[in-house]
Symmetry: D2
Subunit: 119 residues, 4 copies
Amino acid sequence: MTTPIEDLTLRLRGFVAARDWERFHTPKNLAMALAGEAGELLAELQWLTAEESAQVMADETAGARVRAEVADVAIYLFRLADTLGIDVVEAAHAKLDEGERRYDVATYRGIARKAPPLP
Amino acid sequence: MTTPIEDLTLRLRGFVAARDWERFHTPKNLAMALAGEAGELLAELQWLTAEESAQVMADETAGARVRAEVADVAIYLFRLADTLGIDVVEAAHAKLDEGERRYDVATYRGIARKAPPLP
Amino acid sequence: MTTPIEDLTLRLRGFVAARDWERFHTPKNLAMALAGEAGELLAELQWLTAEESAQVMADETAGARVRAEVADVAIYLFRLADTLGIDVVEAAHAKLDEGERRYDVATYRGIARKAPPLP
Amino acid sequence: MTTPIEDLTLRLRGFVAARDWERFHTPKNLAMALAGEAGELLAELQWLTAEESAQVMADETAGARVRAEVADVAIYLFRLADTLGIDVVEAAHAKLDEGERRYDVATYRGIARKAPPLP
């Protein structure tokens, strides 16, 4: 049994191989592409108020653009993780384990300030 | 049966709720956090050559930092998608369907140039 | 007579040459460093409301951090422009000339929507 | 006597005022726009090798696109600095003063590694 991320990762690998694009897909270049797509996502939301941004999917045109940008970020994230041999979900859980120790509920409830790094 | 992304998304929701951070997690703010983490990933790779970037996980210290940045990007991507009601994997497949039409293999084999948008 | 930007650009060149860092300062790497610093700037503002962001310089600690991030973005922008042979201020004026044609006052007054590209 | 940056900053203020766009130009939104444009700059360079990136201005079409993206980054940087009351060149010099103490020539010659923060 494969997970949806594994299926997507394999499809991406095939897409790239069929076009002989592996030489372009170094971790460095993929990180640039990922950040570039994150920038396009910003551009969709930059002039909206916080409240408007929370309603952006209700507008069909804007919603479709936001969904496409989220998809582009995801595509490069999974490609990058594949070239680096990183399990994205496992790495996220490990980071959350750390976050739970670093941002203890009693101290950080309702506070967005950055915690000092763990000792 | 839940997928690993669904499990992670639910854990993230709980993490945020326990700290009363929902008010900070507007789509606008989460897109900023995502782009900020993508920027930190760039910082890990910016002075490396393409070849060095392909070997970055072989170095224990640098590899751990890259893995942590990939995790941070993933965390904000899944949080953002959750607040927007977007299925990340489904959206990525839809974008790949479009990519297959737009970047036909015969024309774009070995070429990294951007294709014009579909009619 | 030199301009302040020319003086800064020359100082940056000397700083880089003294450390033998020219090999790292390709346009590609400098664009990554610029985007990375723009990401750190985002991180300073991401959890603030619009109103709080307008008052950020009134807080001594946060203000100093924002000023340092603005400086980092500027440093990489001027270094990048120097390696590419671009006059930043001249290029900005040329882009504004285009902006004045594209965003005519009558149509875009009070509207943040993106204009279609010029014919 | 005004500097070229002061002239540009005043022109930008007028451009924004004529369109009644001040309400959109909070520091938070301008930082997003800056990062978004930095992302578009990345997109111009992401598939190029280091060597190709150093020659990008020799190609008329690619060169014009890179120049336009550098201009967009500059426009939002100067707008942001204006709304925050930051003198960009002065802030960059202050950061370089710090950089000279932090990256002493003897230790960091030819080394791109990040220095620990100053005590």
